[in-house]
């Protein structure tokens, strides 16, 4: 049995935790600092964390030159639609995969995993041609369709794990109490699946929010372009970049993900099942 940690042990634990938090948070803090620095402070031999002459000029440039506001709005629409659709499709499919054992299910799962092996570059031209035929090549709908299809394999794989963790006894108990299968799903399974659904939605949202290549290739009209594509324009030849506006834009690009995560993470808490089944 483990004893209570000593005072020194506890201090070391907190120190390690603090070091880890700094490791995780420092890039974001540096990004924040860079976003408010004027051009001359970006090339100081001894850079400072706090800008000496903070400026919002980088944000002004980022918004006026590349219309980041519109790009962010486009990204938000596409990402939200992708997250919702992925969850809607993955929810029943993962239940079927987890609960109904059949050779077809095993094959489907294998195919789902196999599909992850194909690299982007191999698929992009056929996808482009198919979407073009369907009239979806230069549209957010086409992009959402791709993102949903792209996120589904992992979402299915992840969600069916959550389904398996729900004890069958709960469904049997509901059935004994007279609930139909649909009622069991709606009132017992799906509420217990909430953390998994939230994780799936988050995964799908963030994948779509950050995705660059499909958005670059599929969207031609400037008004429809998404945030990662707009941000890439601050980088020039051989990696030279306009650091100030890029940092300002990148900072704004992280905000929706952080907000979405902060809003959803409470639903991620496990423990809904604690004590649901005795013995």
């Amino acid at each position: 049995m483990l004893g209570k940690p000593s005072r020194t042990g506890r201090t070391l634990q907190y120190l390690a935790l603090a070091a880890y938090l700094i490791f995780l948070g420092f890039p974001l803090v540096w990004l924040l600092s860079t976003a408010f620095k004027p051009p001359r402070e970006l090339v100081q031999l001894h850079p400072t964390l706090i800008p000496s002459n903070p400026t919002v000029q980088n944000f002004v440039q980022a918004f006026t030159e590349q219309e980041l506001g519109r790009a962010a709005w486009n990204s938000l629409q596409v990402s939200l639609a992708s997250a919702v659709l992925t969850v809607l499709v993955a929810m029943p499919a993962s239940y079927a995969l987890a609960r109904f054992k059949s050779k077809l299910g095993t094959l489907a799962l294998g195919w789902v995993l196999l599909s992850q092996l194909f690299p982007f570059v191999l698929l992009i031209i056929p996808i482009f041609l198919v979407l073009r035929q369907a009239g979806l090549a230069n549209s957010h709908a086409g992009l959402v369709l791709i993102y949903v299809v792209w996120a589904l394999p992992f979402a299915l794989w992840m969600l069916q794990g959550f389904v398996r963790n729900i004890p069958r006894e709960l469904e049997e108990a509901a059935s004994v109490d007279g609930a139909s299968r649909l009622q069991t799903l709606r009132r017992v399974v799906f509420p217990l699946l909430a953390p998994g659904l939230v994780a799936t939605a988050l995964f799908s949202f963030i994948s779509a929010w950050n995705e660059f290549f499909f958005a670059l290739v599929l969207i031609k009209t400037p008004e429809l372009q998404t945030l990662p594509v707009a941000l890439a324009r601050f980088v020039g030849i051989e990696g030279t970049a306009r650091l100030g506006p890029l940092a300002a834009g990148a900072l704004l690009a992280t905000l929706p993900s952080l907000i979405f995560f902060a809003f959803m993470q409470r639903r991620l808490s496990s423990g809904s099942l604690a004590g649901a089944v005795k013995g």
């Binding site: 850079p47 369907a134 090549a137 230069n138 290549f213 400037p222 306009r242």
Partner: protein, 430 residues
């Protein structure tokens, strides 16, 4: 009555159809052009500097207001992903009508037939403005598939106060130092805590091959339709001189080796390095980022047997699939007239290919901020064999860059470098 399983299947199918229909409805209906109305051209631009972006957008807006029957849509691209973007667009048959890129990269697209031959579409006055050596960089199998408009020469940016303190005189715009003089002056500028030079060699291949023309180093030799890499004394001269500065005279900073041009700026502004060999476009960062009391000067390209350097101009091409090639060529002629070309070059801090544009730019800027040096350097820019070699990008990435990095890190000898470059050539050249 239908069986329950069938009804569920039908319901699922109906939902799927409605879903796809809804998605399609969200779309903008594809990109079919209306048969009537003005001709519409899509122009993919890679401008990224603030002034250059504005200049491009302003010129397009001006064209559109003056030519209601030919409307150009400005589409912003970026340098790092343009190759993939274009390749997919060409393959998918949905390429922009006008494409901004660079001479060394359009060869591949030209040979695949994706770019239109502009020989008969470009007006004679535009042709005459640009040197034949520069036109050669965009001529593939007899077809001219791009209009070269911006050049990037390699100059030297120096800290004026450090030059004065060391008694080093700034050479005139048309009389650059020889490599021996450059190395000797680097020695004068080297002292404790200060290096004469910072060679930013994160991506060394293009720079070495560009400068190799100083000693007539060609690297790529063609004979009877077969191209191979050969390394003789001419090819070894530039790598050897840089290596000597790093490890023999120790006048070049070893810490700058892994840096890009912009990464060296903090050290340059902080007085750690006195001279930065680099692109003429570095001047833009000097103007924008140098401390207020910092004095900098642009030195002309360093000379070997000649001051020749490889020209890899930025280009404007017309897609072979474009339905409006003539109108696209009309736009190019307007976009690249001497005044507009000078404006575009000024925005990007690069050298215009057009002679008249170059003169206008020097007059406009009074030759200040290194524009006199930049203008003079244009005459020495010409086509290099590597720009025409199939397989050069692969050779560069897989063999040349790692081998040069190892050599400049002092991990292999000059002979080992030569043999790795030759072996790499055998692997990739067709």
């Amino acid at each position: 009555m239908l069986p329950i399983r069938f009804r569920r299947l039908a319901a699922a199918a109906a939902i799927a159809v409605v879903g796809v229909g809804a998605l399609a409805a969200c779309g903008n209906g594809g990109d079919d052009e209306a048969s009537a109305g003005p001709v519409k051209l899509r122009f993919l631009s890679l401008a990224w500097q603030k002034e250059s972006l504005q200049a491009n957008k302003d010129l397009v807006a001006k064209w559109n207001s003056e030519h209601p029957d030919i409307q150009v849509e400005y589409v912003q691209g970026d340098w790092n992903s343009v190759h993939d973007q274009l390749l997919t667009s060409f393959e998918g048959g949905d390429a922009p009508d006008i494409v901004h890129y660079e001479a060394s990269s359009i060869g591949e697209f030209s040979k695949q037939g994706y770019l239109a031959d502009l020989k008969d579409l470009i007006p004679a006055d535009l042709k005459g403005q640009i040197d034949q050596g520069v036109w050669d960089t965009v001529t593939f199998d007899g077809q001219v598939t791009g209009v070269p408009f911006l050049l990037e020469s390699q100059v030297v940016i120096a800290n004026k106060k450090l030059l004065d303190a060391a008694g080093v005189t700034v050479p005139p715009a048309d009389g650059g130092w020889t490599w021996d003089e450059f190395q000797a002056n680097a020695q004068k500028l080297t002292k404790s805590g200060q290096y004469g030079v910072a060679w930013a060699l994160k991506s060394p291949t293009n720079r070495v091959l560009n400068l190799a023309l100083n000693y007539d180093g060609k690297f790529f030799y063609s004979d009877g339709g077969k191209t191979e890499v050969k390394i003789g004394d001419a090819e070894k001269e530039i790598p050897k001189r840089i290596h000597d500065m790093l490890y023999t005279s120790k006048t070049a900073s070893p810490e700058a080796l892994g840096m890009s041009g912009a990464d060296t700026l903090p050290g340059f502004f902080g007085g750690k390095y006195a001279m930065l060999p680099g692109s003429v476009s570095l001047r833009q960062q000097m103007v924008e980022q140098a401390p207020k009391d910092f004095e900098w000067v642009t030195l002309p390209p360093v000379k070997g047997l000649s001051a020749n350097q490889a020209a890899n101009p930025q280009t404007l091409s017309v897609s072979a699939d474009s339905k409006h090639k003539e109108q696209a060529a009309q736009f190019l002629s307007y976009f690249l007239n001497p005044t507009n070309m000078a404006t575009l070059a000024k925005g990007d801090w690069l050298v215009p290919t057009g002679k008249q544009a170059n003169e206008e730019l020097v007059k406009l800027t009074e030759g200040k901020q290194g524009w006199d040096v930049a203008a003079n350097s244009a005459a020495d820019l010409t086509v290099a064999p590597f720009q025409q070699a199939d397989g050069y990008p692969e050779w560069k990435t897989k063999y040349a860059t790692p081998a040069l990095q190892q050599y400049f890190a002092n991990k292999i000898t000059l002979d080992q470098l030569a043999s790795q470059l030759v072996d790499g050539g055998k692997q990739v050249l067709r």
